[in-house]
């Protein structure tokens, strides 16, 4: 079988390693998702909290 077939883990690793390079995506948001993934903390609650923190930070800017 073709060795280029990616396992689920490889798909996840590749995706989160390159998430910041996706065009028109907020880099800070992308990096925070990548960090959650790296730490094994990618859950909807953690993402929601992280997004809320980023929103508060952005709203309070200036």
């Amino acid at each position: 079988m073709d060795n280029n077939v990616k396992s689920g883990k490889e798909i996840l690793e590749d995706f989160f390693a390159n998430i910041s390079n996706i065009i028109n995506v907020d880099k800070v948001l992308a990096e925070s998702l990548a960090n959650l993934y790296k730490q094994g903390l990618l859950t909807d609650t953690n993402i929601k909290n992280e997004l809320q923190k980023l929103r508060e930070k952005n709203v309070n800017k200036n």
């Binding site: 396992s7 907020d26 993934y37 997004l51 709203v59």
Partner: protein, 809 residues
Amino acid sequence: MSIKIKKIAIKGIRGVQKTMELQLSEKSILIYGDNGTGKSSISDSFEWFFNDKVRHLSEDSEIDFKDALRNSNIEDTEVSSVEMIFSEADVNSTKTLNYKKNKLVSDFSNKSDDFNSYLNNTQNENLVLRYQFLTEFIDKTKGEKLKSLSDVIGYAEVNKAKEVLKTAYNSIKTEIKNQNYESQINTQKQIQIEKIGAAIGVEKNLFEKVNEIITPLKLGVAVKSFKDIDAVLNLLKTRVNTIVLDELRFLENCKNTLTNLKGEISLLNSEYEKYYIEFNKIADDVYSIMQIFFAELLKAGRSVIEKKYHLDDTCPLCLQPMSKYKLLKDIQKRLAQIEESLKKKTACDAARQSIINISKERINRLENLRIDSHYNNKAFEPIKKAIDYLIIKISSLEKEANEKFTSGNKISEPKTLKLQDADFAIFTILESKITALQAVMKKDNNAVIYSNISSAKDAFLRIKKFEKERKVFEDQRSSMEIIYNEFVKKLKEGLENFITTFSGTINEYYQFMNPGEQFQELKIVTIGEEDELNGITIEYKYNDNWVSPPQKYFSESHLNCFGLSFFLASVIAFNKENKFLLLDDVISSFDSNHRKKFADLIFEKFSDYQIILMTHENEWYQYVSQLAKRKSWLINEIKWSDTEGTYIEDKPTDLREIIETNIAKGDIDITGNPIRKYLEHTLKVICANLEVKVNFRFNEVNEKRMPDELLNDLKSKINKSSNDLKSKMPIIDRIINSNILGNLLSHDNPFSPKLGDLKAFWADLGEFEKLFYCQESTCKKPMVSMRNYDTVAKKIRCGCDKTKYDWKI
């Protein structure tokens, strides 16, 4: 890594009471065993060692799995174990199961990171296939197939991440809808128009407008910033009645909040209506939704039939006559319906969550008014009551949304709960109170201007705040949408790439076992569009038409061939650490043609794998053993006895091959047991042939003669009987005096001689054997035996008379 197995030693597990060793030396093995001899003890041991469970035991909650794993005849003080010696010594380990404080606990002897990593990587590999699990993939629903395949290929985690991203993305969309920024901004613009005659969105314009308003007051301040506006307000504050201003501010806040809420009547009502419709879809079809709770029961029933725990053509529950095939089909149909019901429930849950979130946000806004000190002002009692009433009314929407559809209760109709203009009748009182306070203020121009500028400034800042929040939300929504879409794209690409390749391999194996048949181009196909992948189905071409599902025209043998092809393709695709697999009676329901083809497939396509192939089908065993011999496989038979339970008899020819392979590879540590067994077997045969007398012992203890006892008795017999053989005594003495023999007989020390000593001992043993075995290839009875005793020449000899020694009787 390409790990193979050198040795498996099982003790006290399932049918195995005493130690059963499989000396494999990385070779494949064909094992024959009648039903009931305990073949599956080997596959159970495999599963337990690698996966810490045995599916057919673990899936039954009635069975205490660890207790069932232990052989029932061993004492509680004994330790059950599975020892695995691999081609990579770093991952060798023994897994034990024994009682500690009245509890069965398991443990591995190898605690290294290397072993843990190996064991972890092995979790997703396909190492064991049993007959009862052959067709389980085919029999799953399309959704289960997707899940199952995703699990097998490690996409379960990817699907989980997809769901997490989707939930997070949807929660942002919901949050934006809940906030209803458009309405909030419009309310603030309305305030600006009311107070300063214009809706202003640019700072500079606001400052110009304030300058225009304060010019007649000649305050000596030119407004160019918000600081300047605050300075103007401070100046004006010293000239006005602040109590009236505070009351007016409270009333205007109430008015604004209620105006905003009134503007959202249709949002709240329509969201509740949506929920009401979804809830009633379920309530109208509560039977099908209740079926969701039967899913587990149906899956358990399917499992009972598939694994052949229930063999009669009756329903396993009610025992009414029914064909198993029809029953299985009915269960499949019901499970497919349950998948549909689940979709309805998901839609209802989404509508429920939406009305809960929207209600909560509005209640929060009203609760904020309650914090104001004027809220309990007696003069504003009607306003307080109106706000309290609205909180209760909106809370009732939330309460209805928390109703469980299984309760059997109906939820209130939208018309009884809907918010309406009449709920905001308090506006008349509010307006009149505001007008009255404004009238008081009108007498004081400074107070009017203060109020107008203050309100317009606050409205401006709120608009900016809402706009900023909305933009931040929208930016996040947009980013999350792109991320989610990109993720789904990668997932689909990966899955489709895998499925295309995987299908090719399945088809190749299937066609190999079914050449020239009408079922062509077998493949697995994804179902679903856009971002949703709903399931997987299996298709093939039959008479040039695409057919799905496969059960339509497939016989049981065809279905099993597909199951085998699927498993073997999974082995090729996912087994990265291990180069071995165990096939436990997988051909039971195959017809003879498919059986032979399967054997050919294994020998042709999996020649680089170490296969442990077990069967109870004698005819097939005979066929495969011919092929296996040619490919240098080991061949053995599993037996069962009262005293040993399941055991395997090592054949001297196999033992000799294993010992020589181990010595050539320098694998000394696993050679002790085979060499001891070989020596025991050889001595027993020689002593029996020469009628060497040994001390009497009872029954099975008689079988357990140690090599040193037999050697000494043999030596004694030779001394009494044969001068010819006496001259050969140095060979026997070399064996008796060898430190290897001492090491072999010691139970306290591991077998760890020097390789050179072991080689010398093995050579001596060969020389010793030659004394009693004729080396002529034409000799039909090569063993030197009393049976061939020459009474005239008084010699013991072999059948061809070539090897002979004097022998006194």
